[in-house]
């Protein structure tokens, strides 16, 4: 059953916080707390949608997947590190590593107990940690290079929708809703990018976004039977957006080749997830 209200809540909360952060109706500079508020906008939008979908989470959560909401909130602490210059890089890397390792370890409890032997555990956790760090760094780099405009928000929006579709096709409407909750939180950023392409809204605010994307894919693999090659395709979508070399570098039209670049791995992931024989 599709629930539209959580999506509206997520959009409203994220859009309000983004407006508070960037004052897009004014010509002067943004609020000094803009990066923190931008990161908070994603976290709040995502969290609010989760609460609307599943109710207030228990502490500790009864299901391991529910730790993701807490993890996204915890990554807000990384935003000041992300903003600082060189001095913050090592602490940022170590903090990201620690949070990712904790989340991966916590969520794999049933797999480690019942399914994986020690080599499989090492392989899965090592691979996931490497992918996690790579994607976090990659998204940070992308945000710096394409600081303004709607290109990157649109690519991330498409990636999130792709994750929701793939998780849904893999059999879990429940987790598809969870993935879908992130998309409206990004919607406000798309509008901001179109309205004020001069604002570098995503710079220094990528930690919660990267964490939510990675966490959703990881939950998809662990609990919704999303095949890991499909997850890797979706993970690669923001990077693939860099590939098309044609079109303008900035403005609305610049988003078209980026979207085409991202759409290819997303479409491949969706096609690979189509059930051979639907049972409904």
């Amino acid at each position: 059953m599709f629930h539209p209200l959580p999506i509206l809540y997520a959009f409203a909360a994220a859009a309000a916080l983004l407006a508070l952060a960037w004052h897009p109706w004014r010509r002067e500079a943004e609020s000094t707390h803009a990066p923190v508020l931008t990161a908070l906008a994603f976290a709040a939008g995502f969290g609010l949608a989760q609460v609307a979908l599943y109710g207030l989470p228990q502490v500790p959560p009864s299901a391991r997947s529910e730790w993701l909401g807490f993890l996204v909130l915890a990554t807000l602490a990384l935003v000041p590190l992300e903003r600082s210059s060189r001095g913050g890089r090592v602490p940022l890397l170590l903090s990201s590593l620690a949070l990712a390792a904790w989340f991966l370890w916590t969520t794999t409890g049933p797999k480690r107990e019942y399914t994986w032997d020690n080599p499989a555990t090492a392989l899965w956790l090592g691979g996931a940690l490497a992918a996690w760090l790579w994607h976090t760094a990659s998204l940070r780099d992308l945000a710096r290079r394409r600081a303004g405009g709607p290109s990157l928000p649109l690519v991330l929006f498409a990636t999130t929708v792709g994750i929701a579709v793939v998780v849904g096709l893999s059999g879990s409407v429940n987790y598809a809703h969870l993935a879908g909750a992130l998309a409206p939180a990004l919607g406000g950023l798309v509008i901001l990018g179109v309205w004020r392409p001069d604002l570098a809204a995503l710079t220094s605010a990528t930690a919660p976004l990267a964490t939510a994307l990675l966490g959703l894919l990881w939950i998809g693999i662990l609990f919704a039977e999303v095949p890991w090659p499909v997850a890797l395709l979706l993970l690669a979508a923001p990077e693939a957006a860099r590939l098309p070399a044609w079109g303008p570098d900035s403005g609305w039209k610049a988003a078209i080749p980026r979207l085409v670049g991202a759409a290819l791995p997303i479409a491949a992931a969706v096609v690979l997830s189509l059930p051979e024989e639907p049972y409904y």
Partner: protein, 202 residues
């Protein structure tokens, strides 16, 4: 040699031979469950079945099975000392349709990734003839609730020299009580877990 010296040993030999080779007047008694203080029966998964049933769109009763499970039944002379334990792998659900199995394993229903095992552990066993009225803790979907399960002793037999006992019970529960509230508009809240097992005496 006197004739008696020959006939007596011969008659003893014949009598012994007859006694040794004789068939009894009736077949041997069936193995009894009350034979010892605490008989331990371990479920033979090859000859056992754990099924579930649920009503689909209010119209039909749909069935599925779990292919991987374990069970142990300890029967003491004093039924109060008896115990019953079952453990099934939720990921082994099988309804004969891969797409549906995947959906049932997902977070919409069993959430087998999060909760790979469902268990029943008795807390009280009361014997009533061939029926064991079992009260126990049923853990499903990460939620534990007290339930009642009547296990009927179907019969006893021999399997490759081993004593086996057959038990049948049906556990009725509401899945929403265990947090499994997906698609209540299509699939009934009421579910039945049908436990039909053959267990080998250890």
């Amino acid at each position: 040699m006197r004739l008696t010296h020959v006939l007596i040993p011969l008659s003893l030999a014949v009598t012994g031979a007859v006694l040794l080779g004789a068939k009894p007047a009736s077949a041997p008694a069936a193995p009894s469950l009350t034979a010892s203080a605490a008989d331990v029966y371990v479920v033979d998964p090859v000859h056992s079945f754990i099924l579930f049933s649920i009503i689909h769109v209010g119209a039909s009763r749909a069935y599925g099975r779990f292919n991987e499970f374990e069970g142990r039944i300890e029967l003491a002379a004093d039924a109060a000392e008896s115990s019953v334990r079952f453990e099934l792998k939720t990921g082994s659900v099988d309804t004969g349709n891969d797409g549906r199995d995947k959906h049932i394993r997902s977070a919409d229903f069993l959430n087998a990734g999060e909760f790979p095992v469902a268990t029943f552990q008795s807390t009280q066993v009361i014997q009533d003839g061939d029926v064991y009225r079992v009260t126990g803790d049923f853990t499903l979907h990460g939620v534990t609730k007290e339930v009642k399960l009547d296990m009927e002793l179907v019969g006893m037999g021999k399997m490759r020299g081993n004593t086996v006992a057959g038990f049948h019970g049906e556990l009725e529960f509401k899945r929403a009580d265990f947090g499994m509230d997906g698609m209540l508009n299509m699939l009934s809240d009421e579910m039945t877990l049908i436990i039909s097992v053959e267990a080998k005496l250890q």
